[in-house]
């Protein structure tokens, strides 16, 4: 029997809706910005908005969902209902964590502590390999493309100027 306020049905429904909102705001940008698929300026704009709001929205959703979970948990003795509650809230907690990660760059591997070799020690590059090169105030640097195709972003200071090399 559903007695009291809020009704148990309403509570279940609210829990579902809150979970879906949390999942959507984190996962929709991931779907829109997936690699090897063209993106539209509008899709990117929406993604940015969702991404900016997702840390706050997911925490609010999680707190609300936890409150509902406690309420529903107390009112039930059936194990499968409890299991359903856990099954609903776990993905929400997962995306709440994800909203705080820079997960878009996980598949790129920025090189935090780039190291360099002088020519005599640069046997790891073949003469026929392509390199991206810059020269500034007498300082010359080469970034092998085979490495850049993995790391994608390397920060450096060349001839006193901070630069980012990207591929």
């Amino acid at each position: 029997m559903s007695i009291g306020f809020p009704g148990r049905k309403t509570a279940w429904l609210t829990l579902l809706v809150v979970t879906l909102i949390g999942l959507a705001i984190v996962l929709a940008p991931v779907w829109i910005i997936q690699p090897f698929k063209p993106q539209s300026p509008r899709g990117l704009a929406w993604s940015y908005v969702m991404r900016s709001w997702s840390p706050l929205v997911t925490i609010v959703c999680s707190l609300l969902a936890l409150a509902l979970l406690v309420y529903l948990w107390r009112g039930t003795r059936r194990w499968w209902r409890k299991a359903a509650l856990v099954a609903i809230i776990l993905p929400l907690l997962a995306v709440t964590w994800l909203a705080r990660q820079n997960h878009f760059e996980w598949m790129f591997h920025p090189l935090p502590n780039a190291a360099y070799a002088r020519l005599p020690e640069a046997g790891f590059v073949a003469d026929a390999d392509m390199v991206m090169t810059i020269r500034n105030k007498g300082e010359a640097v080469a970034y092998p493309i085979r490495l850049m195709a993995y790391h994608h972003v390397v920060q450096d200071t060349v001839g006193g100027t901070p630069v980012v090399a990207t591929y």
Binding site: P38, F104, A128, D129, P144, V154, V164
Partner: protein
């Protein structure tokens, strides 16, 4: 790219912030080259080279040496409608000069180097290095005077001669003998790219056709 300080999103190819607090800002492009390592190290014996990360190397996660050949088979991503004359993964050398974009298929450059052209109203020259892979581009203007170049027969170094003064020029765009010795041609950034990607960021780009010398 995303910067840690403001969380703005930056477009790699243009260096422009497209969303976030820094939206509309642009990073200053650094003139760079894309060369074979063999050619670069002759020019820069004192240079330094980015080292592979030992963990990544040990795990075998870097691209294999033949990765460019493998990339030819990867599906193409673009919202642009492509010119039917070029296959999407044709390697092109892209140039933007005074607002006009032009793509030079690498194969055409290899056959015809040096290529003299006018892009955006500016006379330019594209030269292929002795490695038959590295490409550089320059404005072919000295003191407002337009130069016509031809190549000396192939040797171990690139040697260009201008028809106006008979001066000799090297692959770095520097005059090395004759009346214009010591002068430097102004370098134009070039981007080695696939045709579909170049077209995505330069929708109005034209394509250089072999033999279509102006």
């Amino acid at each position: 790219m995303r910067d840690e300080e403001t969380g703005s999103w930056w477009q790699q190819v243009t260096g422009e912030a497209i969303f976030g607090p820094l939206k509309g800002q642009r990073l200053t492009p650094v003139i760079h080259d894309e060369l074979t390592f063999g050619l670069w190290k002759r020019e820069e014996p004192a240079g330094r080279v980015l080292r592979p990360d030992t963990n990544v190397e040990a795990a075998g996660e870097y691209a294999p040496a033949d990765w460019e050949a493998r990339m030819q088979k990867v599906r193409v991503t673009t919202a642009q409608i492509l010119d039917a004359s070029l296959k999407p993964r044709t390697l092109v050398v892209g140039v933007v000069s005074h607002g006009a974009a032009k793509a030079y298929p690498l194969d055409a450059l290899l056959k015809q180097s040096p290529v003299l052209d006018d892009v955006g109203g500016v006379p330019i020259i594209l030269v292929v290095g002795t490695d038959q892979r590295s490409v550089r581009a320059y404005e072919r203007l000295v003191d407002g005077r337009k130069l016509e170049f031809f190549a000396r027969p192939p040797s171990s170094e690139v040697r260009l001669v201008d028809a106006e003064t008979g001066s000799e020029w090297d692959f770095t765009g520097k005059g090395i003998s004759g009346a214009l010795s010591g002068r430097q041609l102004k370098k134009i950034p070039v981007l080695n790219d696939y045709w579909f990607d170049w077209k995505t960021y330069n929708p109005s780009s034209t394509v250089y056709e072999l033999g279509a010398r102006q």
